[in-house]
Symmetry: C2
Subunit: 382 residues, 2 copies
């Protein structure tokens, strides 16, 4: 069994397991003033500190959510509800579905949406951003740190600077950046979304980092939790697991991943196969992700063949796996529907030894060659 | 240590612990199509079935949320967003803060809110409801099953019938009903909110039961999860824990609690103290809750004294513990601010043996007598 779908989710690590098991005994409601409540509140505070330390922010900046999707929702909807009618948001065409699919609702509520385009490499242009900042004058700019499907990284520090200069609030979905890029890269944004289950923590917990001085309308009600920014009894087990994962990451040799594995994998395929293209190859990418088009091979055929061999990869975002439509990310990078449906994503992580990566590469080469031979696909030399 | 604050939260039970520990190994993303994803989806389905069985609904009616508060939010906001401007909601003045505090936002979005009053016993009048249904013609009626502070139970089957007759959608927050009342009592509503951490499951997970044919706008985006009714990667550990708690409840001797403990406690206090009143005494109540006013004793004084003795109770909703304002529930029952601040809540559960309850009663009697003697409070005989 080889798992190469770490962008979809990661296994629960030792750090998370240990903290969750400890939290089993601290079951009080952190809002209660009695002993059981105070003990749970201590754990909540300790967890908040661990995550704040990992990202390099102040503990009170952290608002725990039910995941990256809710964090994105709180950032966008929280600002849209605060501004009300005439709210203007500038974003890209390649954001995660938690941003993309929320935009029609924002429009329904009287908001306006404008987009920055991406080029064939999945990259945006800072001069287009600057022009739109001046022309559209958005209240909020939401641009992701690293694309979940291609791994392409947007120039967050430059974007943050431009937003600052043009008095626009800047939100970045850093879910795929956390643990893969130095946090200094994305923490200059006013609002930063992160998630536990991409760094070997549990699913169903994340956070929105809200920098001091940034106001939002709460989108969850149910008490004064999270300094009135997110109501509802706190997910103590999940939050403790998130903190355990954060602490494990901080005490590990490196908080980021070396691109060596990915590069070795890509070059092995390039050497042995024609008619393949790595998306965003020429752009900065997170070090663990390869999105590759295999000409003539529908992604589900390759996925199915590899799944039978015990190799887990995906056709892109897990969140859209149920959908048969081609990836909006790839379409917006200029691929046509058929081309987009020939792309698969390999994303590496802790268990990805060189040996495992070599095995995946060889299996991919064998299957692609076999399927092409069967279909006698004409392959364009690249 | 005696815990008598089960309405705030419950300890994590054996059923939940076992299922969570099993879920540690099923860490795939349920949206992924490969083996790891499918295994996680199997666990998700199994969990959904267990909870559906407990409540007596169809598994596809269940939409998992981050808790009771989000379930309430999805019901109210989901309908408000679907109807748009002119949305009318009828509710009570004693709902949980996750409902109450959301109403201003609904009004800001162009919705209208009307209220059913409650009497001095915390009970509503069905004839007032019927009149308001005709006069106000609400799209949605939201009335809780059992009040979290007083335990007073609204006549849900009658309300459901009236709503049905007047073509209004009916939502009930059954968070304090689950595990304390037969589910048949509240499952006739179109929308039912439940939460895991009130039935010995983990915090941070709950569900909205959405009966077939009831449409809502999703309030969380991030993929096609929960049949597009709630986006975001599923909280697998939490959901499994919820299911483990549900299964434990179903295999236990009784799915509801006997009122014996509560009644014994109340009568012991009544026999030994004057100037005390049990809120909602004459109304149907959930069997585990006593909200009692001790004349002349500020709740925080009694809470503090009992906390020092290792007895955990609360002044009402844990979610409002941070607040110094008196309970909106008690004020709306006609108590004045001072009277409301003299009320404390005892809520019993699994560990509440007769011996423990007797000890709490004796400690309460001793402290109330001592504090009153010190303050020479004049006590009204009741």
């Amino acid at each position: 069994m080889i798992y190469a779908d770490y962008n979809a989710t990661t296994p629960l690590g030792e750090g998370a397991r240990t903290w969750i098991a400890q939290a089993f005994e601290l079951w009080g409601n952190p809002s209660s003033s009695h002993r059981q409540g105070r003990k749970a509140m201590e754990l909540l505070n300790k967890s908040r500190e661990a995550i704040a330390e990992l990202v390099g922010v102040t503990p009170t900046d952290i608002v725990f959510t039910s995941g990256g999707s809710e964090a994105n929702h709180l950032a966008l909807m929280g600002k849209a509800l605060e501004v009300g009618k005439g709210f203007r948001i500038l974003t890209s065409q390649v954001e995660h579905s938690s941003v993309k699919d929320l935009l029609p609702l924002i429009q329904k509520l009287g908001g306006e949406v404008d987009y920055i385009s991406v080029n064939g490499q999945g990259q945006l242009s800072l001069s287009e951003l600057e022009a739109k900042l001046k022309l559209f004058n958005p209240h909020l700019v939401s641009l992701m740190t690293a694309n979940n499907e291609t791994g392409v990284v947007f120039p967050i520090p430059d974007i943050a600077e431009l937003c600052q200069k043009n008095s626009a609030l800047f939100h970045t979905d850093a879910v795929q950046g956390l643990g893969k890029l130095d946090s200094a890269f994305y923490r200059s944004a006013h609002l930063v979304s992160i998630s536990a289950h991409k760094i070997y923590g549990p699913k169903g917990v994340g956070a929105l980092i809200i920098k001091k001085g940034t106001s939002l309308v709460a989108t969850h009600y149910g008490g004064a939790q999270e300094i009135k920014r997110r109501g509802g009894t706190e997910n103590i087990l999940g939050i403790a697991g998130f903190a355990g994962a954060a602490q494990e990451l901080m005490t590990s040799d490196s908080q980021t991943i070396s691109p060596f594995i990915r590069d070795y994998f890509e070059s092995t395929l390039q050497k042995n196969l024609e008619g393949i293209w790595v998306q965003g190859l020429k752009e900065p990418r997170i070090p663990n992700t390869s999105n590759i088009r295999f000409q003539g091979i529908p992604s589900e055929v390759l996925l199915g063949a590899l799944d039978l061999e015990g190799i887990a990869i995906s056709a892109g975002s897990a969140c859209s796996s149920g959908s048969i439509s081609p990836s909006h990310v790839l379409l917006n990078m200029g691929l046509n529907e058929n081309e987009a449906k020939e792309c698969v994503r390999f994303s590496w992580g802790k268990t990805s030894t060189l040996q495992a990566v070599e095995e995946v590469a060889q299996k991919v080469i064998a299957h692609v060659s076999r399927i092409r031979a069967r279909n006698s696909t004409k392959v364009i030399s690249n």
